[in-house]
């Protein structure tokens, strides 16, 4: 009963605080309301789990998760390096690069567009849990097979968005380039690619969390004894859910940071686009 009352009190106070803080303006002060909201939720989680003595096998308390993160920080760092720095980054670079290259090819040779776009569609529809074991068989247990899965997942969004972007340059501007006797390469580099940048960055932003998810799920199907997917699967089987949550938090932070980095680069590269200027 006390727990329920305390929980309700936290909820009410937290709501009040968030509403008051939401009125603050400014780049740093505007973060106050979301931070307060997050803090309220975490405090509520802690109170409910501890108050109702929920077993750790069902739901660990945030304090237990934080303690685990501090205790196993070297393991978390190792898993992060294996999954993110090796599999995700390599797969992301190769997948987006291949999608981009294929889009340029499809744009140059319309005959290929009819054949290759449906294949790209098919590859995108393959479920991760189906291709992961096959990639493990082809590329072995280490990060290469996880990168291969990430390539398969990130290829199609990049392809489709780049193809759409290359068609986005206005006809007036394309006519202008033609009147300057610009060849295909000059038109591509000076007009069509810059015009396609917003679309390309959309694909890059979609692919960032997708790559992380793909790498983690692919690790469920065979991995060396390190990596975020490996750790989540084996610790969940041991019912050590505090470690599972610790890995989840690391994955969420990594995914958000990666996405944020892409957004920052987008702001710098497409500063001219109305969505950035406003």
């Amino acid at each position: 009963m006390n727990t329920v009352l305390l929980g309700m009190a936290i909820l009410v106070l937290g709501a009040f605080l968030v509403v008051r803080l939401a009125r603050l303006e400014g780049r740093v002060l505007s973060l106050a309301a979301p931070l307060a909201f997050g803090a309220t939720l975490i405090l509520l989680w802690e109170v409910l789990v501890v108050g109702f003595a929920v077993p750790m096998a069902l739901m660990p308390a945030p304090s237990a998760v934080a303690a685990r993160m501090a205790m196993s920080s070297h393991l978390l760092a190792q898993d992060f390096a294996q999954t993110f720095l090796k599999a995700v980054l390599a797969g992301y670079a190769i997948g987006c690069g291949a999608g981009f290259a294929m889009a340029l090819l499809v744009d140059r040779v319309p005959f290929l567009r009819r054949g290759l776009l449906p294949i790209g569609n098919l590859v995108a529809a393959l479920p991760v849990v189906g291709i992961a074991p096959i990639m493990v068989m082809w590329f072995g247990f280490d990060w290469q097979s996880k990168a291969a899965v990430v390539v398969a997942m990130t290829f199609f969004p990049m392809l489709v968005n780049t193809v759409a972007g290359l068609a986005a340059a206005g006809s007036l501007e394309r006519d202008l380039m033609r009147s300057f006797a610009a060849n295909h390469r000059q038109t591509l580099l000076k007009l069509r690619l810059p015009a396609a940048l917003p679309f390309i960055f959309t694909a890059l932003k979609i692919n960032a969390p997708l790559a992380l998810i793909g790498a983690i799920v692919a690790e469920f199907f065979g991995s060396p004894t390190t990596g975020m997917g490996f750790r989540i699967a084996t610790e969940a089987a041991k019912l050590a859910l505090d470690m599972v949550w610790a890995e989840i938090i690391v994955a969420a932070l990594a995914g958000s940071a990666f996405y944020g980095l892409v957004v920052l680069i987008e702001r710098a590269a497409t500063f001219w686009h109305p969505s950035i200027r406003s």
Binding site: S223, L239, A240
Partner: protein
Amino acid sequence: MQSTRRGLMGGAVALATAGHANAQGLERLNLQLKWVTQAQFAGYYVAQARGFYRAAGLDVRINPGGPDIAPPQVIAGGRADVVVEWMPAALAARERGVPLVNIAQPFKRSGLMLTCRAETGIRTPADLRGRTLGVWFSGNEYPFLAWMARLGLRTDGSAQGVRVLRQGFNVDPLLQRQADCVSTMTYNEYWQVIDGGFRPEQLTVFRYEEQGVATLEDGLYVLESRMADPAFVTRMARFVKASMEGWNWARANVDAAAQIVLDNDLSGAQTIAHQRRMMGEIARLLDAENNGRLAVADFERTVQTLLSSGGASPVISRAPTGAWSHAVMDAIR
């Protein structure tokens, strides 16, 4: 009016206390298996098919497991009354808030082994140094870690240690030559390697029983809170007695037991040849002497193996108390 209400009340009370009695007066029981329907669980299927459970007044629903089904979670969620589980996973669950208690141990010996390709030159455990080994995780890695600790081999992939791969529930790493050795059960994956084209003389096999690091495998576990109810203990006693009758019958009638298992396989993935082989191997692991009564020495050996397996994330951090009980075996009449 009065008698109808009294009748309804009586019926409700009877239903609540009788452990879900069904129309034929049999008491309903949900058994959760550790893995998919196969001869590893023949005793229970035989007891159901041959009417041993019915004769004991029980209507047993056998729920097969699988890769994503963890028996401790199933019983914690109230979807099973008794589960088949391996002791390391049960002790880990006990330490983490799901207090399982061992009420019977049908399997006395462990069927876990490491199967290596003889062409790698591995003949003795010392030859494992510097090799790539496939190990199951999700609870099956503890005998392996204890063995490596005993051999003094680090599992960090260094040249003086061993490189460990988390293998899936197949033997592909061995067949594809991505690993020098893989984890197998005597009754299942070893035969998948044979079916995959290897002859027995092309394989070097290490049985965990012979290495002294085996842990107890298929046992029956219930939640500790239910052991306080005498009616539950009696019901479990009838269940265990009928189950052991099923196991004894299966051991004596290997082919027929394999056929019963096949008849219960809804997935259609099993074959009679594989199940007959499996049943033959399982029969060697069963407890013929004590009829399923847990030997405390075996329990202690398992706990010692688990506590000595070390690693960054040990399965249990201290010796368990109250993790087994002979109350059910003693209640068998």
